[in-house]
């Protein structure tokens, strides 16, 4: 019972934040702001789901920690892809609600 409650709790938290990330991606007004949805809300979304998986499989099959690796890989890759997208957007001078910075490396080289 306790196990089921904990697993459901983390699954719901995970699902909620994944949903929020998707809503952010669809709803925010410009490209740079949309980047915030998938980079952040998804972190806790995936984190919640993985925590649920860790709890469930540890209880049912014995220690299950390889979910930690998914977290690690996500932390390594998500910022890099966000950074690349932002750089590309800056270089293309995409429309932005925040004033675009003048002296950034964007237009120079």
């Amino acid at each position: 019972m306790l196990l089921e409650t904990a697993v459901s709790f983390f699954l719901l938290v995970g699902a909620f934040f994944t949903l929020v990330g998707a809503i952010g991606l669809a709803r925010l007004p410009d490209f740079y702001m949309r980047l915030h949805g998938p980079t952040k809300a998804t972190t806790l979304g995936v984190g919640g789901t993985l925590t649920a998986s860790m709890i469930y499989f540890t209880a049912v099959e014995g220690t299950s920690l390889h979910e930690l690796l998914i977290t690690l890989f996500l932390f390594v890759t998500a910022p890099v892809s966000a950074n690349l997208l932002a750089r590309a957007a800056l270089r293309l001078k995409l429309r932005s609600r925040a004033p675009l910075p003048e002296a950034s490396g964007a237009g120079r080289d």
Partner: protein, 163 residues
Amino acid sequence: MMRRWLPHPVTSCVLLVAWLLLNRSADAGHVLLGALLAVAIPLAVRRFFHRPVRLRRPRAAVRLALVVLWDIVRANVNVARLVLGPPARLRPVFVEVPLDVEHPIAVALLASIVTMTPGTVSCDPSTDRRRILVHALDVDDPDRLAREIKSRYERPLQEIFAC
């Protein structure tokens, strides 16, 4: 001798642990194979590390990791609120944060941390690594944001990398 075969002890430890986790086993065979990889991979990629990485303060590293984890949870709740609220009220800005850390890996870490935490995405580390450009979702005082990033994340990184 030690330096020669294990140029990056921390990387080696991470590789070994990752191997054991991937295989979900700590049998002697897997430990042996993992240890081989942990020695071989850092040697193979040695040329990509231009400057040696020396971690000075393991305790500061653990503290920073905890601060970042906590901030990620806060960031998510915060961003969730902003996303579900009316988008017209958001005040996005670009902020340039001047950097004091110099080590390329420390700069990369700082940029990653900024991307993972409250309402900010790092966009463009300038080519000279003297500043990073940060896009924030909803900010009333850009200077305070820059100061916060510096004191909360950069200073600990500076201590850890001793640069």
